[in-house]
């Protein structure tokens, strides 16, 4: 299967909330159907500053008759995303993807729990949609825990509400939902769920995933967490996006977030 670098054409690129953008990109039909959790490497065609491409999760996907469309939900975090945010309709971007592995769907789990921090909602949204559409899970069996610093950083909720019945929002300052950490919200509810019948999908800042990992220690919950690391190639070649993972014997090894992840069993992640 030949891979290629796609020239994507921007259909729209709107600031849906302060510093958060939704970009819609038209791609050739040869773009593979992305699996939830997969991402793309994006850069502006012909621009060498910023130098590296940036990894962004695929937030939504649709295949039309003449082209595919992907949506990217992103936060302006620095130079690269600021340049993206400045792109107008019809601009061209270079896209490599879909890349990486995806969340594993276990049909035997009755209860699905999503835990997202901020922009971590992006890949989990695609996952929720797919689970719902495929009939694997119902609106009732999917609970979404979403956290952010402030109300300003809560995005993508509207889309979720169509998919999940139970949505818990937490902000650090209480400006939206309840005040507190998203991981604490989950922890409070934890006993309501049967560990063996539940699958947890998590995506968010390192601190969130780490806190979650602590909460889950000693429990039987199975949790797949999507990680972030700085990337250069996105394809597994540079070994730059390393994350400490326990191998079968429990020894530390470094895995590539881009090629071996971005989704890992939370229990295997080694925290410094």
């Amino acid at each position: 299967m030949a891979k290629e670098i796609f020239i994507g054409e921007i259909v729209s690129n709107e600031e849906i909330q302060k510093e958060f953008f939704l970009m819609k990109v038209k791609l050739d039909l040869s773009f593979d159907d992305p699996q939830p959790g997969q991402f793309i490497m994006i850069r502006i065609a012909g621009l060498n500053d910023p130098f590296l491409s940036r990894p962004i999760s695929i937030y939504s996907f649709s295949r039309g008759k003449n082209y595919c469309t992907i949506e990217l939900l992103y936060r302006v975090a620095g130079k690269g995303t600021r340049v993206l945010a400045g792109l107008i309709k019809s601009s061209q971007v270079e896209i490599n993807g879909p890349l990486g592995g995806s969340f594993e769907i276990k049909a035997d789990k009755k209860q699905i729990i999503f835990i997202a921090g901020g922009i971590g909602i992006a890949p989990l949204s695609l996952l929720a949609k797919q689970l719902y559409r495929s009939g694997c899970s119902s609106k009732e069996s999917m609970s979404f825990y979403l956290g952010a610093k402030t109300a300003d950083a809560i995005v993508g909720l509207d889309k979720l509400q169509k998919l999940c019945y139970n949505i818990n929002v937490r902000t650090d300052d209480g400006s939206f939902g309840r005040k507190g950490l998203v991981t604490e919200a989950f922890q409070k509810d934890m006993k309501k769920y049967s560990a063996t019948d539940t699958m947890i999908y998590a995506c968010g800042p390192k601190a969130m995933v780490k806190a979650l990992s602590k909460i889950l220690t000693g429990t039987k919950f199975h949790c797949q967490a999507s990680l972030e690391e700085r990337m250069a190639c996105g394809t597994g070649a540079c070994v730059g996006c390393a994350v400490g993972i326990k191998d079968n014997k429990g020894n530390l090894t470094y895995k590539r977030v881009c090629a071996d992840g971005p989704v890992f069993d939370i229990r295997q992640i080694v925290w410094e």
């Binding site: 690391e229 700085r230 190639c233 070649a237 540079c238 730059g240 996006c241 470094y254």
Partner: protein
């Protein structure tokens, strides 16, 4: 069309179909980019640096972007020579392309052992000996900073193999031509340069280095002028083939190195930004020859007028 131009070059006894290779550590073991490029079309594949035993590598973060380049402190993470022979080499044998094993060690003995082991198997066409290793913390300077140590590594490796031996030089030295001359005298069949320049970058928020390893290797177009200068200096000093590396992104970049006297080039960081960079460079060199009505790449190599 392309039949009219001859791109084949020889690096000592190693004949390759064109002068474009991948740089070690930037192309995995070939597989990673096989979907994007036809490996058969490459001049050669240089694989990720191999050591005797598997190596864990440095803790993350390992990379950081810089102006026109990037820093890496992968720490030579690799699966080790045995796993390479068992798991990666068979795949590479499927292709009609020269495969060059990049090797390194922390002692002379390690270099010897890796060289010996790799020379005992089929499917490899040359060894590239990394004497730079700026990322690996070890007491004292790297082998590549001392002409005697670099020469000694060369002699040891030559003693263990009948494959062509390319010694890959570090740019973090006062006079790279001195090192090149020393390894030439010690029997190197070719030299390749440059490896990364040691650099650093600081996170203002945390006031820590961006890389866990503190320093890392700088690569990409930012270093191209330094690489080109060093290639030119070395070309004037040695008579063995010189392979140019450093910041090559485009056919034009590659041609600068060839004109300055490099017999071949390696493409590194560019692969990350454009997985098809090697193909684009080969096509672009072909076009340059055709446009300038040059039949053979040899009539480009070393034609710099000063």
């Amino acid at each position: 069309m392309k039949k009219n131009v001859n791109l084949a070059v020889a690096i000592g006894s190693l004949k390759i179909k064109n002068p474009v290779m991948t740089a070690s550590g930037t192309f995995g073991y070939g597989e990673e980019y096989a979907g994007y490029v036809d490996l058969n079309k490459l001049g050669a594949i240089v694989v990720k640096g191999l050591s005797l035993k598997p190596r864990l590598g440095n803790p993350p973060p390992r990379i950081m972007e810089t102006a026109g380049g990037m820093l890496n402190a992968v720490g030579l993470q690799n699966i080790g020579v045995e796993a390479f022979i068992k798991e990666k080499l068979p795949y590479l044998k499927n292709f009609d392309v020269a495969v060059i094993a990049n090797i390194y060690g922390e002692t002379y003995a390690e270099y010897s052992k890796v060289a010996a082991r790799l020379s005992s198997v089929k499917g490899l066409h040359a060894l590239e000996v990394n004497v730079s290793c700026p990322n690996v913390q070890k007491g004292g300077l790297s082998f590549g900073c001392d002409p005697r140590a670099a020469a000694e590594v060369t002699r040891r490796v030559k003693g263990e193999t009948s494959l062509p031996v390319i010694v890959k030089l570090t740019p973090n030295v006062t006079d790279i031509a001195v090192i090149a001359a020393a390894v030439e005298k010690a029997g190197a069949d070719a030299v390749s340069l440059i490896n990364t320049l040691t650099g650093m970058s600081v996170d203002l928020k945390t006031r820590t280095p961006h890389l866990k390893n503190i320093t890392g290797g700088l690569s990409g177009p930012a270093i191209k002028p330094v690489a080109l200068r060093m290639v030119w200096q070395v070309v004037q000093r040695v008579s063995i083939p010189v392979i140019g590396i450093g910041g090559i992104m485009t056919p034009e970049d590659a041609l600068e190195f060839l004109i300055a006297g490099a017999k071949a080039v390696q493409i590194g960081t560019a692969n990350f930004i454009n997985p098809r960079a090697t193909m684009d460079v080969i096509d672009g060199i072909t076009n340059y020859l055709m446009e300038n009505k040059i039949r053979d790449i040899k009539d480009v190599i070393g034609t710099l007028r000063t």
